[in-house]
Symmetry: C2
Subunit: 373 residues, 2 copies
């Protein structure tokens, strides 16, 4: 198994990653696939000078050599990119109420192969009960204790190789959880982990209840990027998700044949009301026509649905080498309205769809692995 | 009482607010108090043209007339700024599991005068128990039901004129809550409401356990502004808090004389790890020296502590006419470390400090009002 606490970033097709080690700015220049790359270029330019250039060339060479070694391995680790972690006596995962000093993370989590994350703690508990039944691993007492019981920041449940974790709402909330989850999986020496966000979203031009598998997560200007502020400077990160995983999930849904599932872009915003052009927030300075114009532009850019976590999820999973997908059900068609006026029962039945799809996928994967052994 | 569902924004000293009604962009140009106002100017320029200028002049005139009328009133309402709300038959506050059609919001909340908000649901329940004892309004059965029991997005508790609401972690999470809270208080016809965020934070150069009352909330570049994306365009909003309320709270803490309390700037970030220059996240591309340099610059800009919600809290409360304060205890000194390694008991005792201060303040205010009557 490869351990990778050293500094490392992945280079994807069409993307150049450069790291400025002196100032600590990671600059990601997306050189294709953007409809307007000028902004990225200017962001990139701000952080580059000749001294950095030499360091980056060396860094890229090191990365190529490491990637080559990595490809020779049979298992893929969960990577942290933080040389300071090695100096920590204990690593306290504060928001999980777990730590390397207080818990044997490898014994607790070393067998994890699938991590499912979602906003609501209740939904993530219901998912673990569902997957336990699906995998015939039910607890006879039906007890699934919250592993993070000492805190109310997040909830975490585990059944066999499946971990289910809540992440709250919005990019900052899921980012805290992902930092600690990636460290947890790294400390537990997990390998070949697939992570799937099971969420809810607003659809654009889709029948409510449609499941959307994200092709690319885009921002509010429809660009496939996530902006991370580090030491007060903005760094642009790639939001690519695993395309083969997305296709496998679509195929799985077709086999299930229980509900409509599509692959499309997902817009990730920092706000639910004004940030998603809703007309029903406490503040609204635009018209219904402005809203429609914006959403139609989004649809023209391939956006099928809107939620609030996918961009940082995609960026962080990519950096840590996790195979990642975002699967969100649409609760309403935003072209037709803003308020979630369907009954609780209907909304609940929609939310079960992502669970059914992911449950089926995990079962299939585990069965295939068992047959292979 | 003044109802104000019409479009309206407040102009504060040294600030010009302009609204582009056609494109729906609110542009806020801060003309003093910024160390570098050029960025704001360029943001402003992008959204302005001559046609808008005329509309804005008319808008400003209307605002002046309305403000004059408002000043003649004795009570201050909670304002929404959304003309579309009047057209809604029911207003569903989805993330609270409440609504105007399903609940009598005026009967439930019409007497609210103080709203306390904080990240953790447990802490906000503990606060309502504390304030009930402080105001001698304890439930004999010690039962404080969660008003939002039908959802796990937020928790809400009420005792007499005090409402306690959780908001999760980060700007997006608190923004959703505030949109629905402001609408709730508006629908309930509440007046003269004071709102206080009781939070936790990392201190800069302060003894852990120090309580910081925020003077101004600043962003990761130490500027007093909040950037709201609306229809894909960035709008800059003011993050001023009520200075007289801050002074009253400081005075109250001096009278209590139980713990150190200071007034200072609070930096609000979108991320807990890289965004706050921590060295213990899953990813870290900078050195200890880089971190120290950044935090010392922050301290030189008057930043006493760092948290993740104050900027949007300040901006939204200002827009809705709520008298607002942010009171956060520091759990550690970030110049000395990053991990929260104090015992749970010590951290808990720190968190009680903000509650003690706010409890004392509310009691004092209610006693003064009772004497006045």
């Amino acid at each position: 198994m490869v351990r990778c606490s050293e500094m490392k970033l992945f280079i994807s097709e069409g993307t150049a990653v450069k790291t400025n080690r002196l100032t600590g700015h990671i600059c990601l220049l997306i050189i294709c696939g953007f409809s307007s790359s000028n902004r990225s270029v200017s962001l990139f330019s701000r952080n580059m000078d000749q001294r950095d250039e030499k360091k980056n060339q060396q860094f890229s060479r090191n990365m190529d050599q490491r990637d080559e070694k990595k490809n020779q391995q049979f298992s893929s680790p969960v990577c942290v990119h933080n040389p300071h972690l090695d100096a920590l006596k204990d690593d306290i995962l504060y928001h999980f109420n777990l730590g390397t000093g207080s818990h044997n993370l490898e014994a607790m989590f070393g067998d994890v192969k699938f991590v499912c994350v979602g906003g609501s703690p209740w939904r993530m508990k219901s998912f673990i009960e569902f997957i336990a039944a699906e995998l015939a691993m039910e607890d006879p007492k039906s007890e699934y204790p919250n592993i993070c019981a000492g805190t109310d920041r997040y909830a975490m449940y585990k059944v066999g190789p499946v971990l289910s974790v809540s992440h709250g709402m919005g990019i900052p909330s899921i980012a805290i959880m992902l930092h600690e989850l990636i460290k947890l999986l790294h400390h537990a020496h997990c390998t070949d982990v697939t992570i799937i966000r099971i969420g809810t979203s607003g659809g654009i031009g889709l029948e409510p209840g449609t499941v959307v598998i994200t092709e690319t997560s885009v921002d509010a200007t429809f660009l496939p990027k996530f902006e991370q502020v580090i030491l007060g400077k903005t760094v642009v990160r790639n939001t690519d998700l695993d395309q083969s995983l997305a296709q496998e999930l679509l195929h799985c849904s077709k086999e299930l044949n229980q509900f409509e599932t599509v692959i499309g872009n997902t817009m990730c915003t920092l706000d639910f009301y004004e940030g998603q052009a809703r007309l029903d927030g406490a503040f609204c300075s635009y018209t219904e026509a402005d809203k429609q114009e914006y959403l139609i532009k989004a649809r023209e850019a391939g956006v099928c649905n809107i939620e609030m976590e996918s961009s940082v999820f995609a960026a962080m999973c990519k950096l840590s080498g996790l195979r990642a997908a975002v699967v969100c059900v649409t609760l309403l068609d935003r072209l037709k309205g803003d308020q979630l006026s369907s009954s609780q029962e209907v909304l609940h039945s929609y939310q079960l769809r992502s669970q059914i799809l992911i449950g089926s996928y995990i079962k299939k994967q585990l069965n295939a692995k068992a047959e292979h052994i």
